[in-house]
């Protein structure tokens, strides 16, 4: 089932074109990796899907319904977004932070429901964060914070999860754990979109990879095809070796 579809979408930032005629589809129950060099338009594509930015042309549909038809609250329940360099601006408690993910369901002035509390606890446990649930965000390590922030995004219980560079700034062990959590979420049926700079992670954990290059989709395919030698060389300017199908970038290829 198609969870999210971009049909010839173009977008710009302050008059500068960023995306040109992007066509891509995101499947439910799969991890879709969004890769591409800096400035390729990965974050812009995610921002379009949450209506943080408006597209200049083309059509976007969420769960087979045009994006424009969604109310703010319904969209907030359908698409969960974990922004790049996500962090807590106040040192609130981990549980309190995860509970923010229930905001699209809360009525004004009403306290959190039992259901809200249950989901918050469940997501903390799912992200291996239950043991520090009572600690404040400033008392956690970067890896622990990343898991709490992911639990917050999962607490929305949205059928679509967009994660912008969630693995950046994490050590390898935490990167792998985070990607495993995203995979587990896809197994539960969620359409997971994750932007990545690390092509090894993309080739290892993604069911499908969309390669963005200069604001356009260069290829959308399974990792082995999307990240083949020709694409790596042309788009990223690298060669790679492959270990069990995992792409390991090597030296920069000659221009």
């Amino acid at each position: 089932m198609t969870a999210l579809a971009f049909d010839n979408v173009s977008a710009s930032y302050g008059g500068t074109p960023v995306l040109h005629n992007v066509a891509a589809t995101i499947r439910a129950g799969a991890v879709t990796g969004l890769v591409g060099p800096n400035g390729a338009g990965k974050t812009t594509l995610l921002r379009l899907a949450i209506r943080w930015l408006k597209s200049d042309a083309g059509a976007i549909s969420v769960l087979d319904r045009p994006l424009a038809e969604w109310s703010a609250q319904a969209l907030a329940r359908a698409v969960s977004y974990l922004p790049q360099e996500a962090d807590a601006h106040w040192p609130i408690g981990a549980t309190e932070l995860v509970a923010l993910g229930r905001m699209p369901y809360r009525r004004p002035l009403a306290p959190p429901s039992r259901e809200d509390t249950r989901i918050v606890q469940e997501m903390l446990a799912q992200c291996d964060a239950a043991e520090f649930a009572e600690r404040r965000m400033d008392e956690l390590s970067a890896g622990e914070r990343a898991r709490v922030l992911l639990a917050r995004a999962l607490a929305v219980q949205a059928p679509i999860l967009l994660a912008d560079e969630p693995a950046a700034y994490l050590d390898p062990a935490h990167q792998l754990r985070l990607m495993e959590l995203l995979r587990a979420e896809a197994v539960r049926g969620t359409a997971v979109v994750v932007t990545l700079h690390d092509l090894s992670l993309a080739s290892r954990f993604c069911d499908e990879v969309i390669v963005l290059h200069e604001g356009a989709v260069a290829v959308q395919a399974e990792p082995a095809l999307a990240l083949d030698d020709a694409h790596l060389e042309k788009i990223f300017g690298v060669r790679a070796i492959r270990v069990d199908g995992i792409v390991v970038p090597q030296e920069r290829s000659a221009p």
Binding site: Y81, L82, E96, L100, P111
Partner: protein
């Protein structure tokens, strides 16, 4: 939920403290009237006690509550909006600009046409400053840029105020402005209360509507938007709410700085860092603090040579520096 019950209890205690401080402010003063005489003066048709109770003490105590509540709620909401514990009506230049608005009302004699011009122009001044900060924050200016922007706004407003003083043709008007600018609650009337109360209450109510959205701002504006928060409406409500509350408070009491900075900070150990939990308690705590500071001013110098605004600045400025040093250590 025991956590919630503890907070409710604390908030009720703060409300009680604010009322107690206001009562003390009402009962204490340089005249030799007993507490009983002041209270009965409130209901007496005429006489010395009646004048003191109704025309001097009552407006002073009520304005203490209103001004404090306005500054406390504004400080907590601004800190939530900018995700910056240094944001506050004084530091961000909102209070100075409200002051400039009020000085314009004095300077052009508008106050003699209608006393309403004083709070109205103060609110306009506050609105302009808050709007400038809002634009700075939208441009992605960081924490330091925002505080420096506030310094620039405050300096500009202070410079124009100084110019108005320097050009003032009438030495009495000048002295009026200077005394008012130092921040005080003395010599206020019930009329001042009548003009201040609705504006402050509207401002605080508007700020309270932003509470939950400001919590979502903890995750950044994009994430808040993705949670269904109307980010633009939230920013507008904070800016207008702060402008109403701080504008009216400044029109009534002049510059009473640092209250909005200190109170949310003092309350965080009890309420945590979520902005939604701090707006109402900060309003109540600051109401208590301003009433208490106003009593202190009378006790320290019975002839009232120590203005309220000077006392809060003398205590608040070192606190501000300490807060910056502590933040630097933490990052």
């Amino acid at each position: 939920m025991p956590h919630g019950a503890r907070e409710t209890g604390l908030t009720l205690a703060l409300a009680g403290l604010a009322l107690l401080c206001a009562l003390a402010s009402f009962l204490l003063g340089p005249s030799h009237l007993s507490a009983g005489q002041v209270v009965s003066g409130l209901f007496a048709p005429h006489g010395m006690a009646s004048v003191i109770a109704r025309e001097i003490r009552l407006p002073r105590a009520l304005l203490g509550l209103l001004v404090g509540a306005a500054l406390g709620a504004s400080g907590a909401a601004l800190q939530g909006l900018f995700r910056n514990p240094l944001a506050e009506p004084g530091v961000t230049g909102v209070a100075s600009s409200a002051g400039l608005g009020a000085v314009v009302a004095f300077y052009f004699g508008l106050v003699s046409l209608s006393p309403l011009f004083l709070p109205a122009l103060a609110v306009v001044g506050a609105l302009v400053a808050a709007a400038i900060l809002f634009i700075l924050s939208r441009a992605g200016a960081g924490m330091v840029a925002l505080v420096l922007g506030g310094v620039a706004v405050a300096s500009f407003a202070t410079a124009l105020t100084a110019l108005a003083l320097s050009l003032s043709p009438n030495p009495y008007a000048m002295s009026d402005i200077v005394v008012w600018m130092m921040g005080a609650l003395k010599d206020r009337t019930l009329g001042d209360v009548v003009f201040t109360a609705p504006l402050v209450l509207i401002g605080i109510l508007l700020l309270l509507t932003t509470a939950r959205g400001l919590d979502a701002f903890t995750l950044g504006e994009e994430a808040a938007h993705s949670l269904g928060i109307d980010v633009h409406s939230l920013r507008r409500r904070v800016v207008v709410g702060v402008a109403f509350a701080t504008g009216a408070a400044t029109a009534a009491a002049g510059a009473v700085s640092f209250v909005g900075l200190v109170v949310p900070h003092l309350l965080r150990p009890f309420y945590g860092y979520a902005p939604s939990r701090l707006i109402l308690p900060s309003a109540l705590g600051a109401a208590a603090l301003v009433c208490a500071a106003d009593i202190a001013v009378r006790l320290i110098s019975p002839d009232e040579k120590l203005p309220l605004g000077v006392l809060t600045a003398l205590l608040g400025a070192p606190f501000f520096v300490w807060l910056i040093l502590r933040m630097r250590r933490e990052t």
